[in-house]
Amino acid sequence: MKRLTRWCIYSLTLAATAGMAEPSGLLAQEIPEAVIKAEQQRIQAIARATTSAVSVFANGGKGGGSGVVITPDGYALTNFHVAKPAGSAMKCSMSDNRLYDAVIVGIDPVGDVAMIKLLGRDDFPCATLADSDQVQVGDWCFAIGNPFLLATDFQPTVTYGIVSGVHRYQYPAGTLLEYADCIQTDASINPGNSGGPLFNANGDLIGINGRGSFEKRGRVNVGVGYAISINQIKHFMGYLRSGRIVDHATLGATVATDERGRVIISNILESSDAYRRGLRYGDEVISFGNRRITTVNGFKNVLGIFPRGWRVPLEYRRDTETFEAFVRLSGVHSPEQLLAKIQRPAQPGPGPNPDKPKDKPKDKPKDEPKDEPKDEPKDEPKDEPDDNRKPPRPQPPRRPQAGPAPKIPAHVAKYFKARRGYANYYFNLLNRDRIWNRFSEETDCLRLNGKWTLSGTIPNRGDVEIILDQEEIRADFPQGQVKVDLTKDFDTQLAPAGSGGLLVALQVWKKLLTEGPAQFGDVYYLGTAPVLNQKGVFDILIGTRNVVETRFMFDPQSGQMIGLEMFPDLSLDPCEILFADYRDVQGRSLPHLLKIRYGNNDFAQIQLTNYALPQASAEKKSP
């Protein structure tokens, strides 16, 4: 009996084993090729993407989060709310099982983005940046990160899902963090995933994860995570590299939905650039930033993806007439307000408990235009744990208590320079000098401090001569002679009339060229921004001389200064000059075509035929 039983068991085991083997063989044969191929693609995409993922650990055990490297020399993105408690330096692990030191570069507190730089290599594996405007609802996507700070073995966690929504607007949470135009996903985004990458199915970077809707369900994923779109971050990339604390933008006008469902201007500041461009109360917004605007959220989405100071196309309708304009966006906060807000200790925390601030965005700055009532009610997700419910749900690790800032290691400290208003002034100087040194290769005018005489013509109008002397500027224009006394305030001498201050602008330009940024005054790197009627984005240096602020714009490819904007007052239109037709003048390249614009009008195009320059003085050369 026993033997029979054993035999039966043996036989059946064999049969079962054979059965197991055979169906798996069948499976392999019957799985469509497309499925196997799709699976392989998914494996490869995840493998490739994983190499660029970063797990962030704050020094001193102050939490952490996630990030992603975007350049071979180690520039990486994470959330502001991850970087903030980490301070100026942090540790980052990657899937190569190595731990790297990293230093803060720049922060965008409103957009909840921070740029950090990993140190120690110039061949970091980095993510490929996708065009996130091409992302569609239903697309497969995956997040890689450090949920619950699990990556103590340096290996990040991968969660797969689909895109649940695009162009989502999430109201500011806490006092700052606003998620505009973000990507919504059902891939699990948990505390610790913050700052980590969201990839498309190809493994290309489409966003930075950072927020979720939780409400009464606790601080764990409920299938609703949000990622900051990588296209938004592309707009801010130059600003982040500047080492500054970057602000977001306002139009100087608010919008609301009227009874016909149109998005209309519900309030507008007369001091705004939009007002000067002709926008008025009651106008219907048709498109903004080259997007059709059909909802208030849609308008806010566009507003949220551009940095302060950018010029953005706006199309609006009044009665039956349609108007187009490029409007310059102003800042949401003053620098002091921004500093005060990010230094507020009650800011929602990053690290293991990062994703949702607790306080509602009720304390918008008073100078910020109130952005209208929405057309539909919308909840503000809350993440307070409900302590009344039993049994308690599992809790993620608690956020470490704040303590004294850990000391920056010496080998990291050389990449950090503290200065008020900057996340890391080291990177501002780095970029300022990069731009200036490149420009100086072709246009070295240092020490040419004497009288400059520029001669030329305004086609069809007559000859022009401009003498930029030490004490004054004298100019002959077809419409007459004008002078500027350089010993007086510049902002009251905006000659010639209608130019917005061409002579002052040229004086400031000459001073930067002859003195260099270090001697000129306070010159800092703003970042990159578009320039009217020019393709691409340009490096911007900002300098203040006398009482005027001037933006100098440089082509990142050629290094040439392609223009400047001189603001006699930041609430007024600048005098804009575009430089072109660079030619050699005594061994240095100088522009021979000046296109001058003020407000909505082109003032003139001056074709220069001659530069009369002084001999270089023996002054010490700028560093």
Binding site: A15, P23, V137, P377, P381
Partner: protein, 350 residues
């Protein structure tokens, strides 16, 4: 000892045999539709989705939910909830068109309601064409969870699979709901605030069911993600569309009896009628009245009178005025999360 071994051996044999047969019989049948991407499916479904706004807005009670179009006459299927306790229900279609929706009818047992908007330019799901799914099937869930979408913004889409098809274990101490039928348990986080009334489809965008209201298991503090299959709802939808639940009092031509019922005669005192649509909560029941004899209690909410919706104190009074005193009054009431049915006869009271 032997008995135990013998039993164990028999059980082992049975298990092995079963396993072997299962494995040998299993013919893997995988299919992979290369032509249908989720993004294409999403686009096709979105035009049928509706964002619904109504009562609520105070802490913990969202003033919004989801729904989807079920007829070219603009009928919208959604869940029956406090959001609909208002005369101003707003329905926003996928293209951003905004309507004031009318409550056509509801079935509190199934917790569904049908609204209607005055338009004929709509894409819609045909409820009768809904399909059934089994455990393991892939699904997409469309809803306006957390009210994320507004205007013409598309609703949210989550993906997952059917984990199980099972009767809902709804009872006191577990999931508090009046629905007692089968549900599809989902492995995705589909039933978030505002998601109720959303559409569950298969991977090709064919309607499967409606996302139910939020349910939290009081014992385990877990939230249930589920949908009610359309096959459970179609009869009720037909009844609602046929006007069977519509109050008769809205029709002026209905003949009124000479001696109708009244709240007073039945022994029912409602809460003060202060709102435009005050829910007919019982404030007090007179002792020894017909209502008291049948067990009606203070705080009960009267939902239906003779299978007609009593959506407000006024409607309830009007409906009673259409019933002759010699006839009984059939009430469906809600007490807590329970639905109860009472048959009141005037002769029962004193």
């Amino acid at each position: 000892m032997f008995q135990l071994n013998h039993y164990t051996t028999k059980r082992s044999l049975a298990c092995l045999l079963g396993t072997a047969l299962l494995l040998l019989a299993a013919k893997p049948s995988l299919s992979y539709d290369q032509g249908t991407s989720f993004s294409a499916v999403s686009s096709s479904v979105q035009s049928k989705m509706v964002k619904i706004y109504g009562a609520g807005g105070i802490k913990g009670l969202e003033a919004y939910q989801s729904g989807f179009l079920i007829s070219e006459q603009g009928h919208i299927l959604t869940v029956w909830s406090y959001v609909l306790d208002t005369d101003y229900i707003t329905a926003v279609l996928d293209d951003g068109r905004k309507f004031q929706a009318k409550l056509v009818g509801a079935d509190p047992r199934l917790e569904i309601a049908v609204l209607q908007v005055e338009t004929d330019r709509v894409d819609f799901f045909a409820p009768k064409a809904a399909i059934d799914l089994e455990a393991g099937d892939r699904v997409l869930a469309f809803s306006n969870l957390y009210g994320v979408a507004t205007g013409d913004e598309p609703t949210s889409v989550l993906h997952g699979i059917v984990s199980a098809k099972t009767p809902l274990d709804a009872r006191r101490g577990a999931f508090k709901t009046t629905y007692r039928g089968p549900v599809l348990i989902l492995d995705a986080m589909t039933n978030n605030p505002g998601a109720a009334g959303g559409a569950l489809t298969n991977r090709e965008g064919k309607l499967v069911g409606i996302l139910g209201k939020e349910l939290r298991n009081a014992l385990t503090n877990t939230w249930l993600n589920y949908a009610i299959p359309m096959s459970e709802l179609n009869q009720a939808i037909d009844d609602i569309l046929a006007g069977k639940t519509r109050p008769r009092s809205v029709d002026d031509s209905v003949k009124r009896p000479d001696h109708p019922h009244s709240l007073h005669k039945l022994g029912i005192l409602l809460v003060p009628d202060l709102l435009t649509k005050t829910p007919p909560f019982v404030d007090r029941v007179r002792s020894n009245s017909a209502a008291a004899k049948k067990g009606l209690k203070a705080d009960d909410l009267i939902l239906f009178v003779n299978d007609r919706m009593a959506e407000s104190c006024k409607t309830l009074k009007d409906e009673l005025s259409l019933i002759d005193r010699i006839d009984s009054v059939h009430l469906i009431i809600q007490r807590g999360q329970e639905l109860l049915e009472l048959e009141l006869k005037l002769s029962d009271g004193t």
